[in-house]
């Protein structure tokens, strides 16, 4: 297969995933109980049945499901995501406003998690049990601490007591530190655990003896040889990392009062706000497809054995 054909296939696969995700979201949302108009009105509405019917008709919710689906696909193909039922704004505007804060938060958290996680793993893999236990303890505590706790804790110490970082607001990069920490530390814990496991497996391989026989020691051994093997399993973890970031963003944005797709997701899903959910799913699926694409490109770079077809 030449490169063009492969690229075309990858793009087609990606489009397939995005389409599938949108479809799944569409039907999922129709399965979510409750009437969209009711939910829009909320718990304290003064609605009359007429108003209710009008809203239903206006949103096209009275049509049969398949025709709603076709209409939905039609709009989708034109890149028309429509307006939010609840917020009444064009979905693109909402996504546009909220995408960057979440993306920057996610990236910052990811970088932090990668650095802290791999550092912790490298520093302790194959070392004395006491060290390993200590590292493992912090990692697992981070993993099993809910992000709202972690966020509140970090805020209490670093913002309220020490005044190092603001809670939120338009203060640029300093306002990103604590949220990224909150989102990133549990991830770092996961990464450290997985990478350490992989490092320790690698450190027992025969080629490690050869490498040591060349005068490589401690750090060099880990960085130059073992880490590559760890990176390979890390790449496999992208799905998890992606999900944790998208999922964790909700709570972190809530605690820090940050704008972002996370809080938008919760309100859109719970309010059955179809256009927004669709938009979010599209964004999320596209991002995932891109991330997996990058991973698919990176994986054979890290592990050359993947570059050839497997026979038998």
């Amino acid at each position: 297969m030449n490169a063009v054909a492969r690229a075309a296939k990858a793009v087609a696969g990606g489009i397939g995933v995005v389409w599938g995700a949108a479809t799944l979201a569409f039907f999922a949302l129709h399965l979510v109980p409750g009437d969209t108009a009711d939910i829009l009105m909320g718990t304290q509405a003064l609605t009359s049945p007429q108003v209710h019917r009008r809203i239903t008709a206006e949103l096209g919710l009275d049509e049969p499901l398949w025709s709603q689906y076709l209409r939905f696909l039609g709009h989708l193909m034109h890149g028309d995501l429509g307006r939010s039922y609840q917020l009444r704004q064009p979905v693109w505007t909402l996504l546009g406003q909220n995408a960057w804060p979440t993306v920057s938060l996610g990236l910052a958290a990811l970088v932090l998690a990668l650095v802290v996680g791999t550092a912790s793993a490298i520093a302790t893999a194959g070392r004395r049990p006491a060290w390993r236990a200590a590292a493992s303890a912090w990692e697992l505590t981070a993993v099993s601490t809910p992000s709202f706790w972690l966020g509140i804790l970090l805020l209490t110490v670093f913002s309220f007591r020490l005044h190092w970082f603001p809670v939120a607001g338009r203060n640029g990069i300093t306002a990103l530190v604590l949220p990224a920490g909150t989102l990133g530390l549990p991830l770092a814990g996961t990464i450290a655990q997985v990478v350490r496991e992989s490092l320790e497996t690698t450190l027992h391989q025969p080629f490690m003896t050869t490498a040591r026989a060349r005068g490589l020691g401690g750090m060099a051994l880990r960085l130059r040889h073992a880490l590559r093997h760890g990176a390979s399993s890390l790449l496999t973890l992208t799905g998890l990392l992606f999900g944790s970031i998208v999922g964790g963003a909700v709570l972190v944005e809530n605690v820090f009062g940050r704008p972002g797709l996370g809080s938008l997701t919760v309100s859109a899903v719970t309010n059955k706000d179809m256009p927004v959910v669709t938009g979010l799913v599209l964004v999320s699926a596209t991002a995932f497809v891109l991330v997996s694409g990058v991973v698919a490109l990176l994986q054979p770079r890290v592990d050359p054995r993947l570059r050839q077809r497997v026979s038998a």
């Binding site: 829009l40 003064l46 609605t47 049945p49 509140i152 939120a168 605690v255 919760v266």
Partner: protein, 520 residues
């Protein structure tokens, strides 16, 4: 100097305010959220202004006449009011706004309801406007005082009406501030309207607002909101959690302002169409078995008062006689239940009748739609009822299922707390015409001719004495029938930093920033 009220207000400065909820739609004519009003009150003006004791004062309307049958309200508007985009405020503007509210395309979730039996608006002359109703509609002035019936510039409505939910510069009002920017989750920024000269009589000062800018931020997490206040990162924090109030009162750098919210308070409505609550004795037993004094004091750290009536004490028409009329009396509850035939006991200690356990389900709303305190209070009530052998279960529902069930009248008990300045609220909750299947709020599903007659009559008169009398009877009767267990009176608790002065409350106990100023 932080000596308080005697100091002279100074102009200038930015006030940073931490809000507890993220507004969804920022269009006051559409949204039903309180937080939308908190922000928009500074941008949108109303025809009239209501004071804390139920009196009405001129605002955009210099005066008004009401037809004797309460179906036609004529307002004489001020001549000097302009929107911040330069458009003049006149009768046309009123008509355009009200027409928009009731237009189906607007899908108003709340304001359209406030207009009640709206029939139309007539432009009498440029500055005189008449609002017509198909039925007598006494609560209209109260409604007209809310930001939900505030006015957007007709020009802006025509040009950017579709963007109002997104807030920001598209929202052009006549208010003391202009809406500079809004981002979901990001916060809202309001900037002073220097041309403002039509503050209502209820305001403490005429002319423009003192503050240059108000910067609203959304911090839903309670402890974070408190932390930002105590660490000086915000000037004002709304919805201070009860657990922190006592400590904050003792914190020198913080001041606590508190005002009881008028309206229905926070109550538990019992569905009389579902067994075992179809038996009045069981309903009364629930009332008597609930030790609200202790429950409310503990759960809300002594900061909120228990309720005695389905109206909160700061509401016009509140019946003081309801107080202590149904005290905690587990003995009486036991007696009532025994007489209702719930005499058996099962292994878990609950009462039974013919082998059936005495169980009441009070469905739990998703956390987004309730507060930690309310959820905890429910557990306290659960424990109280267990003492007399009633099992109170709390089935968790997602919001969709919850609403479907409530509209179908399938929930045995439902909690609600509404803020409103007019006791007409009682009609929504207890008039049989307002049953949930028809979009009403009468989840008790109790069909009582007397209650129907009294609530309808009260909506058709403006005579304060007559209204009080009617509403007093309503309150007494619903308590006697056991349709409702009033739980507590919520209050608005605002924490401010010491440099902040002049924050007040409007009639609905919403914090008002027009008179606020910052020292230094």
């Amino acid at each position: 100097s932080p000596t308080g009220e005697e100091a002279t207000p100074v102009s200038g400065g930015t006030l940073t305010v931490a809000l507890a909820t993220q507004p969804g739609c920022m269009d006051s004519q559409v949204s039903q959220q309180g937080v939308t009003n908190t922000i928009n009150r500074n941008v949108l003006d109303s025809l009239v202004s209501q004071d804390g004791s139920g009196g009405y004062h001129p605002w955009l309307a210099a005066s008004w006449d009401i037809s004797p049958d309460l179906t036609r309200y004529t307002f004489h508007l001020r001549h000097d009011v302009t929107f911040t985009d330069g458009t003049a405020f006149d009768a046309e503007a009123v008509k355009t706004n009200f027409a928009r509210i009731v237009a189906p395309a607007t899908r108003s979730q709340f304001a359209a309801g406030l207009l009640g039996p709206y029939a139309g608006t007539d432009v009498v002359d440029r500055y005189t406007v008449a609002v017509r109703f198909t039925k007598p509609f006494a609560p209209f002035l109260a409604a007209a005082a809310t930001p939900n019936l505030g006015f957007y510039s007709p020009k802006a409505l025509a040009e950017r009406g579709g963007e109002l939910c997104g807030g920001g510069p598209a929202a052009v009002g006549t208010g003391p501030f202009t809406f500079t920017s809004f981002g979901k989750g990001q916060g809202a920024v309001l900037t002073r309207n220097p041309a403002y000269r039509w503050a209502p009589a209820t305001a403490a000062h005429p002319g423009p607002a003192y503050l240059d800018e108000i910067d609203f931020r959304f911090l839903p997490e309670e402890s974070v909101r408190v932390g930002t206040l105590t660490s000086g990162q915000v000037d004002v924090a709304l919805a201070v959690p009860p657990s922190n109030i006592a400590t904050l009162r003792d914190t020198p750098s913080v001041r606590i302002l508190q005002r009881d919210v008028p309206g229905s308070g926070y109550n538990l409505y019992l569905n009389t169409a579902i067994a075992p609550l179809d038996d009045q004795r069981v309903r009364n037993a629930v009332q008597r078995a609930t030790d609200l004094d202790a429950d409310v004091r503990t759960v809300f750290f002594g900061q909120y008062n228990r309720a005695w009536s389905p109206l909160s004490p700061s509401t016009v028409g509140y019946d003081k006689a309801a107080e202590h009329s149904w005290p905690f009396d587990p003995g009486m509850a036991d007696h009532l239940l025994d007489s209702a035939g719930w005499t058996g006991r099962d292994g878990a200690g609950y009462r039974t009748r013919n082998g059936v356990r005495l169980t009441i389900d009070w469905p739990a709303l998703p956390a987004d739609y309730t507060t930690n305190g309310n959820a905890t209070l429910a557990q306290a009530v659960q424990a109280d009822l267990k003492q007399v052998g009633i099992e109170l279960t709390r089935t968790p529902y997602d919001i969709g299922t919850y609403l479907r069930k409530i509209h179908a009248g399938q929930l045995a008990a439902a909690d609600a707390g509404w803020s409103a300045t007019d006791p007409d609220l009682l009609r929504l909750f207890f008039n049989s015409a307002d049953d949930p299947a028809h979009g009403g709020q009468n989840v008790t599903r109790f069909d009582d001719p007397e209650l129907d007659a009294w609530t309808s009559a009260a909506a058709a008169t403006l005579d304060p004495a007559r209204r009080s009398d009617l509403y007093r009877k309503v309150q007494a009767r619903v308590l006697e029938l056991g349709l409702v267990v009033p739980l507590y009176t919520p209050s608005t608790v605002v924490g401010t930093g010491s440099r902040v002065q002049g924050i007040g409350f409007d009639a609905a106990a919403q914090p008002a920033f027009f008179d606020a100023w910052v020292a230094g």
